[in-house]
């Protein structure tokens, strides 16, 4: 082919040139011209839950230990921040009421619940009516009522009973219309018949029905409502059978950058002397009779240790409720390829949309890069169509072929994640249409050479970086260069005097006790220096090895290119030499600047005890 002179090649030939060069530049484009796209943020609606408690005198029999109150605590405190919570208690009339509150005010509900006395008749009609009224005035989002009762509606006389029933039925109807779901937990013998009118409310509003003959079963019913009906994500950290002694629990909290982590301890008996150790921006602790809540705001450590004293014979459950505030952001990477089709006028463009999730409050922090989140399935609704994708290194990737400019609306469904998520779930991205193919007469060589040149430059940079990395770091030599472990034990220590460093700083004398190492262990000088806390790197130190020898000696093997001297003699490379106690060795490292002297010293039995 002629590269100069008059261009007379056919259209097909030209296209082939273009294809090759554009393929190169197309790939380059995808690397260099990824465009961050603004995500349109929409705040999700808040959910509201109201706990409706029957405090009639019959509860005294069915819940003599007032476990219901602890269950309310567990329920209320487990709910994420985007839930508003209310509380109504009824007996002959309304006994206590509290309109839905923000998450920070939940302790007021607990104050009311703890004060509620089990007394009087059971006017569920009045209770449910009030609850429905409260929820009706709430904004969009899910609305739930959790009703705990131990029997049918019963008032002093029939008229009262009927009136209450009427009100109950009316409230159920209103709830149904307002989209309020009522979950009913029945307690004790009076509720054994699941067909009664109380349970009916659940059936009509699509809520769940739960029955437990004994009060300690309330907790599991509440758990089910939280997990299945409200889809709250929590994990059980530990279940401890307390023996009256102090319990120590330490665990990993793999929720870096979470907005909040709630740790809830619930027990069948009082929990005492609770102390926790963690790192977080702020924390709050709420203690009840048989529960304790620790709320960590912006935890930044990943270790948690808890100490408490449980009552002998009781069981303590520790649950963790992590909560994230998230904003997803999209980036688009385009790959343009010259299409095979001869008649095509534009490139064939593929867009790779990468969604990355950031902390809503500090949008520099990328979330969910931890192992816990890797490969988690994730449902995304893109332009109305649902797709499933999985998280990789904290990112979701969708691929689209783009023919013309248009928007891409994605809605994230976070329910597949093991954590509670609030914040933004919608992202809107603009996808740019492909560019037209260039005119034919454009000489292809410029692009071709430019592309090839750029690629070569890139390759050179990458190679340089790799070489630089290797050159700068004490990268361990292949394993096989390491001597075989010895048969003996160490009996001494190394006194190290660094006489010269590349930057001329003075490092105080070091001493490394070899005696504490396991039998036969091979250790390199690099490891010794690192363990002594020396930050400077000594080229080749990683390949100067020590291992224990017979008669309290150590064996030194130099596999580095540095110079090792002993008794005026340069030790040969890859040969082993015996160091007897008190003997010293001088080492000049590969950089020909750093030097150190080390002296092998014996440790007497009494000195070993202190190590």
């Amino acid at each position: 082919m002629k590269l100069t002179g008059n261009w007379t090649g056919s259209r097909k030939e030209i296209r082939r040139h273009i294809q090759f060069s554009l393929l190169l530049t197309g790939i380059l484009l995808s690397i260099f011209f990824c465009l961050p796209v603004d995500a349109k943020e929409t705040q999700d609606d808040r959910n509201t839950v109201l706990f409706l408690l029957d405090t009639s005198s019959s509860m005294k029999e069915n819940d003599p230990e007032r476990l219901a109150i602890d269950s309310i605590a567990q329920f209320v405190y487990t709910l994420p921040t985007n839930y508003r919570t209310g509380f109504v208690a009824y007996n002959s009339d309304i006994a206590a009421e509290c309109a839905p509150l923000e998450s920070g005010q939940r302790s007021r509900i607990m104050e009311l619940a703890e004060q509620a006395a089990y007394t009087g008749y059971s006017n569920a009609g009045a209770g449910l009516s009030l609850a429905t009224e409260y929820l009706k005035s709430e904004g969009g989002g899910g609305k739930h009522i959790v009703l705990l009762s131990d029997g049918e509606i019963l008032m002093e006389d029939d008229a009262g009973t009927n009136e209450s029933r009427r009100m109950y039925a009316e409230a159920v109807e209103k709830a149904e219309k307002a989209g309020i779901r009522i979950h009913v937990v029945g307690l004790g013998g009076g509720m054994e018949d699941m067909d009664n009118s109380i349970f009916e409310a659940a059936e009509r509003t699509g809520g769940g029905t739960y029955y437990t003959p004994q009060a300690f079963g309330i907790q599991s019913a509440i758990d089910t409502i939280l997990n299945e009906e409200l889809q709250i994500r929590q994990s059980t950290l530990a279940i401890v059978d307390a023996d009256g002694e102090t319990e120590n629990i330490s665990a990993d909290l793999p929720y870096a950058h979470a907005d909040k982590v709630r740790i809830l301890l619930t027990s069948t008996a009082p929990i005492q002397n609770l102390s926790t150790n963690f790192q977080a921006e702020s924390a709050n602790q709420v203690n009840g009779g048989r529960y304790s809540l620790i709320e960590l705001k912006d935890p930044y450590g990943t270790k948690l240790s808890i100490r408490f004293t449980g009552t002998a014979g009781s069981q303590v459950r520790i649950n963790v409720v992590p909560e994230y505030r998230v904003i997803p952001k999209a980036e688009v990477f385009y790959t343009d390829v010259v299409p095979e089709d001869e008649d095509a006028t534009a490139y064939h463009r593929t867009a790779e949309v990468v969604y990355t999730f950031y902390d809503l409050d500090n949008q520099d922090i990328q979330l969910w890069t931890e192992q816990t989140f890797e490969h988690r399935k994730f449902k995304v609704t893109v332009n109305g169509e649902q797709e499933e994708a999985s998280l990789r290194a904290g990112q979701l990737t969708l691929t689209r072929t783009v023919e013309k400019t248009g928007g891409l609306k994605a809605r994230m469904d976070y329910s597949g994640l093991p954590v509670n998520v609030t914040g933004v779930s919608h992202v809107e991205t603009e996808l740019a249409g492909p560019a037209s193919l260039p005119e034919e007469e454009e000489p292809p060589y410029v692009l071709m050479f430019a592309g090839a040149g750029l690629l070569l430059a890139l390759l050179a940079i990458v190679l340089f970086l790799i070489w630089h990395r290797i050159g700068n770091k004490n990268v361990p030599e292949p394993r096989e260069e390491r001597p075989e472990p010895g048969r003996y034990s160490y009996a001494g220590k190394l006194n190290i005097y660094i006489t010269r460093t590349p930057d001329g700083c003075d490092i105080p004398p070091l001493s490394y006790n070899l005696f504490r190492l396991t039998e036969g262990r091979v250790i390199s000088l690099g490891e010794v220096l690192e363990r002594c806390g020396v930050a400077e790197r000594f080229a080749g130190a990683e390949t100067i090895y020590f291992k224990p020898g017979a008669d309290r000696c150590v064996i030194l093997t130099n596999n580095s290119d540095g110079t090792v001297m002993k008794n005026r003699e340069i030790l040969m490379k890859k040969k082993s030499y015996l160091l007897v106690p008190e003997e010293k060795v001088d080492i000049t490292f590969e950089d020909e600047t750093s030097e150190l002297m080390l002296q092998y010293k014996e440790l007497m039995p009494s000195e070993r005890q202190g190590t």
Partner: protein, 726 residues
């Protein structure tokens, strides 16, 4: 003494003269070597080992460099030779006994010791006047007299007379001495000052006559019978005087010629001054005096002399204190017959420099050579680390200086606790016991300890306790005071003024020229090390315990000598004179409670009716703390352990198992039996109540020695060499 012939070789970790060779330079590169060869050791000993103070002075020639700074019109002094100033501009001032500041200090020490006076009773001012121009002149007068006498004899003798040559030798020496003065202007200053004063006031103001010119004459009766002093006629000279004049003229010629020869840059004024000083004369040498110029000269000379002397003292004082310390180290050893005389190896390098990790291998290699061989001639047993920084906690913060207060001492010549810890860590491997004392200042003197107790010192030593090297660290307190700060003023002279009656010495207060030395002290570590080194010698012990009729075995060193036991401290004491009236009982009980450190005492004590006017040793402990008895360990235990280990290694040919068993056996020829046979001696290795046991752990091959000192055990482990046995 067999096997180990010395147990008191001491390493001084300090610098005397940075221009001389030092330990690091002499040891040189140690890459790949375990120890130094014998030639190298010989060289090191040749340069650094000293057996007397005079040897230190000779080997290190301590010197202060002076040069004139034209910018500030003053004399500058420095201990380090300034490198950017040409050699010809520098004048070295040798700090030896003929240097008059050192002379003054030594005179203070000697006369205080001779008089047995405490600091408070001694009149320092009188002795310190020695550094005033008057005293310099007095010294010169003495030299002058000798020169004149000898020159007269010399000129009388005939040429070729062998006696004349002898006289020539003598004169050469005297001229050499004299020329030291006239080859530098600084030394000429006191001469010039005194010369002007003599000429203006006739003899230093002893006979005040208002500064009128004096004309010699004779007493006679006048015509009317009135009493008259008649001016003597100029021609009226006797034959003897003529002869004297002849001698003097000759001498003047010689001095003039010598001055010209010695000085590169001769000057007529100085030449005349030198001639006038060394040949003061005579009736025939009259000259007119310009009073105003002479008075102005006198005042400016005096001012210049005061400033430069002041600068000089500031620079020379730290060096002088070091030298005094070394002098006292050697002085502690005073015996009738010479035995194990302490030797001092002067590292001549700053310990801070030595403690740098780049330099430690050199020190280690040196110590490997001295202390890890079965040749004990060069073994180092002690080290001296003086001048540990005494950092002050500022409690009273002052916003504004209303009155002129103390300038905070710029601690340039002090050494850090960190460097001490680093060095101790090395020295402990060679079982070298290190005496250290805090920097010389008022807070570390007897006065301060008597007033404040030793709590501060204990706190400051806290970083060194509980460490593997604590056993080898001996804190010495207090430091010795040669001249207390509050009595360190020296009156040089008064300025002169011109009045109608001629020149007069001014009586105004501001015209009295005074300078302040601000206290001269000696680090306790030198004296403690010197004293301990002296106690190692059996002859020393014999001399001091003669009266107590104690048995001293001449073939054993004093390693087990416990200065704290019985009346030992009242029989063997330092050569330092008592400084204060003593510590209060509460301070003594504070010291006794913890048994902290090496503490000197300046107590009133008498033994068998004889008063002890010297400073005694009150405590001799290191920093190894025994929590069981809540006291610090006595120093002798460490040295006995070291001594036994070294003897054991030697006798058992490096810990051969069979030999170890022999060593401890009941055979009368065994080493242990031989030591036990001498148990009644003062310097026994194992005394009554002590025991020496051993056990061999067959599995680990370790022999454990248990040395019990009066019931308190000390363990020592040695690795057995089994090659011979099985």
């Amino acid at each position: 003494m067999e096997i180990i012939n010395q147990t008191n070789r001491t390493l001084l970790l300090d610098v005397i003269n940075p221009q001389q060779l030092d330990l690091l330079t002499l040891v040189g590169d140690v890459k790949g070597i375990d120890s130094l060869d014998d030639d190298k050791m010989k060289e090191i000993n040749q340069y650094l080992e000293c057996r007397s103070y005079e040897e230190v002075e000779r080997k290190f020639t301590p010197v202060v460099w002076s040069f004139f700074d034209a910018a500030s019109q003053s004399v500058k002094y420095t201990l380090e030779k300034p490198e950017n100033i040409p050699e010809s501009m520098l004048t070295p001032i040798h700090v030896n006994e003929s240097e008059n500041f050192q002379q003054a200090i030594l005179s203070v020490m000697r006369s205080r010791k001779a008089q047995g006076l405490m600091n408070v009773e001694f009149s320092f001012e009188k002795v310190l006047e020695m550094i005033s121009p008057k005293k310099v002149m007095e010294d010169i007068r003495q030299v002058r007299k000798e020169i004149q006498y000898n020159y007269k004899k010399y000129s009388e003798l005939e040429e070729g007379d062998p006696q004349k040559l002898d006289m020539g030798d003598k004169l050469n020496l005297l001229f050499e001495d004299a020329s030291k003065n006239y080859n530098n202007v600084m030394a000429m200053l006191p001469l010039a000052i005194e010369d002007i004063k003599t000429r203006l006031l006739l003899g230093g103001g002893e006979q005040q006559n208002g500064g009128q010119a004096v004309v010699p004459g004779y007493l006679s009766l006048g015509d009317g019978g009135e009493l008259k002093v008649l001016e003597a006629p100029k021609t009226d000279t006797t034959a003897l005087a003529t002869l004297d004049d002849n001698v003097n003229t000759g001498l003047m010629e010689v001095i003039r010629e010598d001055y010209q020869a010695v000085n590169d840059n001769p000057n007529t004024y100085v030449q005349n001054l030198v001639v006038r000083t060394f040949c003061p004369l005579a009736s025939t040498q009259q000259s007119e005096i310009d009073v105003e110029t002479e008075v102005a000269n006198y005042n400016s000379y005096l001012d210049f002399y005061r400033t430069s002397k002041d600068n000089f003292i500031k620079v020379v004082k730290p060096l002088l204190e070091r030298l005094l310390g070394i002098r006292m180290f050697f002085e502690q050893y005073q015996t009738k017959s010479r035995g194990m005389k302490p030797t001092l190896v002067v590292a001549n390098i700053s310990p801070e420099m030595l403690a740098k990790s780049a330099n430690l291998p050199r020190l280690i290699t040196y110590l490997n050579t001295t202390n890890s061989k079965n040749n004990f001639n060069d073994t180092i047993w002690y080290a001296i680390y003086p001048n540990v920084a005494w950092s002050q906690n500022v409690t009273n913060k002052i916003q504004r200086e209303r009155f002129k207060g103390n300038v905070k001492k710029v601690s340039t010549d002090v050494y850090s606790m960190e460097a001490l810890a680093t060095l101790l860590d090395v020295l402990k491997d060679y079982r070298i016991e290190t005496f250290f004392s805090f920097e010389n200042r008022e807070e570390t003197t007897f006065n301060a300890v008597a007033a404040e107790g030793i709590e501060k010192m204990i706190d400051k030593c806290a970083p060194l306790t509980g460490k593997p090297f604590s056993e080898f660290a001996i804190p010495v307190l207090p430091n010795f005071t040669v001249i207390p700060k509050n009595k360190s003023g020296v009156m040089l002279d008064s300025k002169m003024k011109v009045s109608d009656n001629g020149a007069q010495l001014s009586e105004a207060k501001e015209d009295v020229m005074r300078l302040w030395i601000e206290g001269v002290y000696i680090g306790g570590a030198y004296v403690a090390a010197g004293f301990r080194a002296a106690c190692q010698c059996p002859e020393f012990l014999k001399d001091h315990f003669l009266k107590a009729r104690a048995l001293v075995y001449g073939e054993l060193p004093g390693v087990r000598f416990d200065i704290e036991a019985a009346n030992n401290s009242l029989l063997a004491y330092t050569t330092m004179p008592k400084e204060i009236t003593g510590f209060t009982n509460s301070i003594k009980s504070q010291i006794n409670q913890k048994n902290f450190g090496w503490v000197f005492a300046s107590e009133n004590a008498s033994l068998n009716g004889e008063n002890i006017t010297n400073i005694t040793v009150y405590k001799a402990r290191n920093l190894l703390y025994d929590p069981d008895s809540s006291t610090y360990e006595a120093v002798y235990k460490t040295q006995v352990t070291t001594y036994i280990e070294r003897i054991l290694r030697y006798v058992t040919s490096d810990f051969k198992e069979d030999n170890i068993k022999n060593f401890f056996s009941n055979n009368p020829q065994s080493q242990k039996s031989r030591w036990l046979a001498k148990k009644d001696c003062l310097n026994a290795i194992i005394t009554e109540g002590d025991s020496l046991e051993y056990s061999i752990d067959e599995v680990s091959g370790v022999c454990e020695l248990t040395i019990s000192f009066n019931g308190s055990p000390r363990n020592l482990e040695v690795q057995i060499n089994r090659l011979s046995s099985r």
